[in-house]
């Protein structure tokens, strides 16, 4: 029989081929259509096209009028900065006007996007799609000098700014089980350790956007709506955070990607008053400024644009020079968080780098939309570029002191001290150390119940302390490191961050507890003070023994890695409701609050019940989530027995839920608010100095040497008078 090269398919083969193609199509459809639907119903969230009132179309005339105004403003500002002020006001005015209308000046000063939009005929800003019209891809220069063209939308969607978590390795965070987070094959999504927040960790799902009915006393009973929620500082405009990114498969729906707020970072004239919660038929979400005015003033990223959100975690919301706090919203004004998370502002008033015009991205050098936070860190686990350094040394040499007579001696300290140790002398007084979420206080001006800050201080030894740090941190934000002498007595998790000894602090806590007792008669002041200042007292003797063993066996090695230096760390602890079924030697799973009911009623158990009734929290207490991430999470958390799926809400009652302080204080790195002039020698080198050398693991002889006040006295003397002795 003669063979042919191409045989017509037999009916069976044809059928098989058709079936295969159909299955593939079916799977694709299922993944693209059914999976998102199934996912939405599983987590109880919805997606819908997002619209914004500020995104309006202008007529050609309106566009030109706006362009004229923006151009004039920009030219006016720049010309006024150039023309000498020391002259007749009228003469100055004439010169400014001349300069403003010079051809090259117009070309260099007018916001560049006026021309681009005019040429492209764009008279309405519609979010990312408008930007992507020209910026579909961007060129990214990596740290090693390689240049790549990347898809802009993909780049931003996969950045921490959008999804605020990542599952890649390379973290400086270690679990209490001694394992580096996500270094093994089982990677889990992790974000940041934000214990100052009432909705910590992944619970952003439950507190993304909230409208709170406030009743300010001066308003005589009138209700004012206020905005609150994690979404105020994240660039997604959806009804929930980028939850899809927590799953091993699936992508953020395109509607959500279209909700990304490009302009909050890229526009110089962004109106923060547009940043408030809005309600539509699908639910609550954060509004944004999509006006053409904001779009036309797109310009280079600057500290000003970053600080619209980031002053919140540095100087604090209530910081005097927080610009964003001046524009809280046209309606539904944002609630200002009092009690600063770090209290180290980045502003020309309080930071020498800001004062010299240095921009955030000069140190945090971005690669596309990925912005490095440095290799060292204790509270921010997610990291877009874990391999990239952000250090003082990248600009300052290893011998940065050139001014002082003692410059060599000052430089000598760098082997042991971080720059911040001397150059951040104090934090803002608003800096909160102990915050009680369980017993809120009525704020009559705001007409809200707010968490009670039991202790605030910006002073060394009180608001922050000094710890050895090699760049590693624990899963609950404790700095790890050790004295380079190899000390085995340095044990911050049993000492510095596990108890408050300062009598002044204890007295302040006591007085605050006494004050709280008037509102909450059930408070036992002595017990309250003990729990707050000696959080280890909440552990059973067995737990305490286990804790000590875990520190020795799991963390000692991590503490001894690399080179440690002494850094300042802001201290923080909070009292929250904990799920005691999932308790370990370092703490238990903290439960979130529902913002609206918390602020409105101050009924904290009711608020917790409401928050954990959220479908996503219920999912968390089910088997798939346990296997997918919670067992691993608990192991890092120091709970060796795995995640107990005992849902703490039974028949509307909280079961096995107790209010507790975390078993140790968190330590947050402080790197901003740098002052040019550092500390005086005597601030540390004296018997009652700000540094507890003994607890830092020095031998008694060395402590005596380090505290030796005579040496310091000697430094001050003139050589002549010293010689005369």
């Amino acid at each position: 029989m003669k063979r042919i090269a191409l045989k017509p398919l037999s009916p069976t083969a044809k059928r098989r081929l058709i079936v295969t193609v159909l299955v593939l199509i079916g799977l694709t459809v299922a993944y693209k259509v059914l999976y998102p639907l199934a996912f939405e119903s599983y987590v109880g969230k919805t997606n819908a096209p997002l619209t914004y009132a500020s995104s309006t179309a202008l007529t050609k005339t309106e566009f030109e009028a706006l362009a004229q105004e923006l151009s004039t403003n920009a030219r006016q500002r720049k010309a006024a900065a150039i023309v000498d002020t020391d002259q007749e006001p009228f003469a100055r005015q004439v010169k400014i006007e001349m300069l403003m209308n010079t051809e090259s000046f117009i070309r260099d000063t007018e916001p560049s996007h006026i021309k681009y939009f005019r040429e492209a005929g764009i008279h309405r800003y519609e979010g990312p799609q408008t930007c992507l019209h020209c910026h579909a891809t961007i060129q990214v220069t990596h740290g090693d000098g390689t240049v790549k063209n990347v898809d802009t939308l993909g780049d931003i969607v996969n950045s921490v700014h959008f999804k605020f978590q990542s599952e890649s390795g390379g973290f400086s965070t270690y679990g209490y089980d001694g394992r580096q987070v996500n270094s093994g094959p089982h990677k889990i999504p992790v974000g940041k350790i934000n214990r100052a927040c009432g909705i910590p960790g992944s619970f952003t799902w439950t507190g993304w956007a909230a409208l709170v009915a406030s009743r300010p006393e001066h308003g005589e009973g009138e209700v004012t709506m206020r905005s609150e929620g994690c979404g105020q500082c994240h660039i997604g405009g959806n009804y929930q955070p980028a939850t899809e990114k927590m799953m091993p498969i699936g992508d953020v729906p395109s509607e959500a990607k279209e909700g990304i707020d490009c302009l909050i970072c890229h526009s110089t004239d962004y109106d923060m008053n547009e940043r408030h919660v809005i309600q539509d038929d699908k639910g609550l979400r954060w509004n944004q400024d999509r006006s053409l005015r904001a779009a036309l003033t797109v310009g280079p990223i600057s500290s000003e644009t970053c600080l619209r959100c980031h002053q919140h975690n540095m100087g604090g919301d209530a910081y005097l020079h927080n610009e964003a706090a001046r524009s809280l919203g046209h309606i539904n004004q944002r609630i200002l968080h009092r009690g600063a998370k770090r209290g180290n502002p980045f502003s020309p008033h309080d930071d020498t780098h800001a004062a010299s015009g240095i921009q955030c991205t000069d140190c945090h050098v971005p690669e596309g939309h990925k912005i490095p936070r440095g290799r060292k860190g204790v509270d921010l686990v997610a990291n877009d570029i874990p391999t990239k350094d952000v250090t003082c040394e990248s600009c300052h040499t290893q011998a940065p002191h050139n001014q002082s007579e003692h410059k060599a001696l000052l430089n000598g300290h760098i082997a042991r001290l971080a720059c911040e140790t001397c150059h951040i002398k104090e934090l803002e007084a608003e800096n909160v150390v102990l915050r009680d979420w369980v017993h809120p206080t009525w704020d009559s001006d705001e007409g809200l119940f707010e968490p009670t800050d039991i202790y605030r201080s910006g002073k060394p030894g009180k608001g922050f302390t000094f710890l050895w740090f090699n760049g590693n941190g624990t899963f609950l934000a404790n700095a790890l490191g050790n004295n380079p002498n190899g000390s085995d007595t340095y044990n911050p998790l049993m000492q510095q961050v596990a108890r408050i000894d300062d009598p002044e602090m204890i007295a302040a806590v006591r007085s605050k507890a006494t004050e709280l007792k008037q509102q909450y008669p059930e408070i036992d002041v002595d017990a309250y003070v003990r729990m707050a200042t000696d959080p280890l007292s909440q552990l059973s003797p067995e737990m305490l023994a286990k804790r000590e063993a875990m520190i020795q066996n799991n963390l000692r090695a991590v503490m001894s890695q690399g080179e440690s230096r002494i850094y300042p760390f802001k201290l923080f602890n909070a009292m929250m409701f904990e799920d005691m079924s999932n308790q370990g030697p370092f703490g238990a799973m903290i439960l979130p609050f529902d913002y609206a009911s918390y602020y409105e009623t101050g009924d904290t158990p009711a608020s917790v019940k409401k928050a954990i009734a959220d479908p996503i929290v219920q999912r968390m207490y089910q088997e798939p989530f346990k296997l997918y991430m919670m067992d691993e999470f608990m192991s890092y958390f120091g709970i060796t027995e795995g995640w107990k799926t005992v849902y703490p809400l039974v028949d509307g009652r909280l079961e096995n839920v107790e209010p507790h302080w975390m078993r140790q204080m968190g330590t947050l790195m402080v790197n901003h608010g740098i002052q040019g002039k550092g500390r005086d020698c005597i601030e540390c080198h004296s018997p009652d100095g700000i540094m507890n050398f003994r607890q830092l693991g020095y031998s008694p002889e060395r402590v005596a040497e380090l505290e030796d006040i005579d040496i310091i006295e000697n430094l001050k003397e003139q050589p002549d008078s010293a010689a005369a002795q």
Binding site: T397, A399, E405, H406, A408, A415, N714, P719, Q725
Partner: protein, 314 residues
């Protein structure tokens, strides 16, 4: 107690009153200096050049160095008794000769090359011929002993030390200035086969100093590139010149117990041509011969078997 001893004023008195010989224990003296100078980052930037001037002394390296037994003030005789040191103290001239001068009690004409403590006379003569001394390149200006030998950390290699470590540490001294050598594009060693291996196994000095007689250590006369040794056979031969240079540091005792071959192998320093072992050669020959024999026998067997089947009908 300690506080008092450490106070600058008292220290000054101590130094003023006591002669170096009669002063307190060396440890105490050095401790006062090391209180600051042990800081690894003690340094400042020279406003004139912008360069970082390193003032740090590694206490561990110092105590293990050739100068480990000496007090700081034995060499640094300026007015360093208090901090801040007077400005003119920085201009001190170090009086190395105080220790390193020729010993009058010894015969002036005697060859000092065997004297491990201070054979400065012959070193001086060798150095005078060195490219470091004769070069008129601007880079060689101001070249001194301290350009290579850190007086606070220098220690001569000792018999019994790991050869690889000796090579690494020694070459590091040269490479700290001769950076170009690290650049594969402009490295003058490109001709050298197995360049990386050579660098890990021998010192720069083993080729860049004149060949010396048995029993003499490496000269301080560093040769110019064109004068340096390019003859492979100098090392790769049974009478390798490496034997009395680099391999002088092999411990005799080690050699006795482990044997020549083992020591060379464990040092990762098997030198082609030098470390030839006659027994091994013979053994190799026997193994090769045996292999050939087995092959031949096998072939013969197959041939026989073939013939047998050929003769028989199917």
């Amino acid at each position: 107690m300690t506080n008092l001893a450490l106070s600058g004023a008292l220290l000054l008195t101590l130094i003023a009153v006591a002669t170096p010989a009669a002063s307190g224990s060396p440890a105490t003296e050095n401790k006062s200096c090391l209180r600051c100078h042990a800081m690894a980052t003690l340094a400042y930037r020279d406003p004139g050049t912008g360069d970082i001037v390193d003032l740090a002394v590694n206490p561990h390296a110092l105590s293990h160095s050739v100068h480990g037994e000496i007090d700081c003030i034995d060499c640094h005789e300026g007015d360093f008794g208090r901090y801040p040191h007077p400005a003119d103290a920085a201009n001190e001239t170090l009086s190395c000769v105080g220790c390193h001068e020729k010993d009058d009690t010894k015969d002036d004409t005697k060859d000092d090359t065997k004297d491990n403590i201070a054979r400065f006379k012959s070193i001086d003569a060798e150095y005078a011929e060195s490219v470091h001394a004769t070069s008129d390149s601007a880079e060689a200006e101001g070249f001194s002993c301290h350009s290579c030998h850190d007086p606070h950390g220098f220690r001569a290699s000792q018999v019994g030390e790991e050869i690889a470590a000796i090579v690494r540490d020694d070459n590091q001294v040269c490479l700290s200035c001769h950076e170009k050598v690290r650049d594969p594009l402009s490295d003058p060693h490109a001709w050298l086969p197995n360049r990386e291996k050579h660098w890990n196994a021998v010192r720069c000095l083993d080729c860049h100093t004149p060949l010396s007689d048995n029993g003499k250590t490496v000269s301080h006369q560093v040769l110019k590139a064109e004068d340096s040794n390019r003859d492979c056979v100098n090392c790769h031969s049974r009478e390798s010149s490496l034997l009395n240079r680099l391999y002088q540091y092999r411990s005799e005792e080690d050699l006795a117990t482990k044997g020549w071959l083992n020591k060379a192998v464990f040092n990762d320093a098997y030198v082609v041509g030098m470390s030839r072992n006659a027994t091994l050669d013979l053994l190799g020959l026997i193994v090769t011969g045996l292999t050939l024999l087995v092959l031949a026998a096998h072939g013969f067997g197959r041939y026989k078997a073939y013939q047998r089947t050929k003769g028989k009908p199917e």
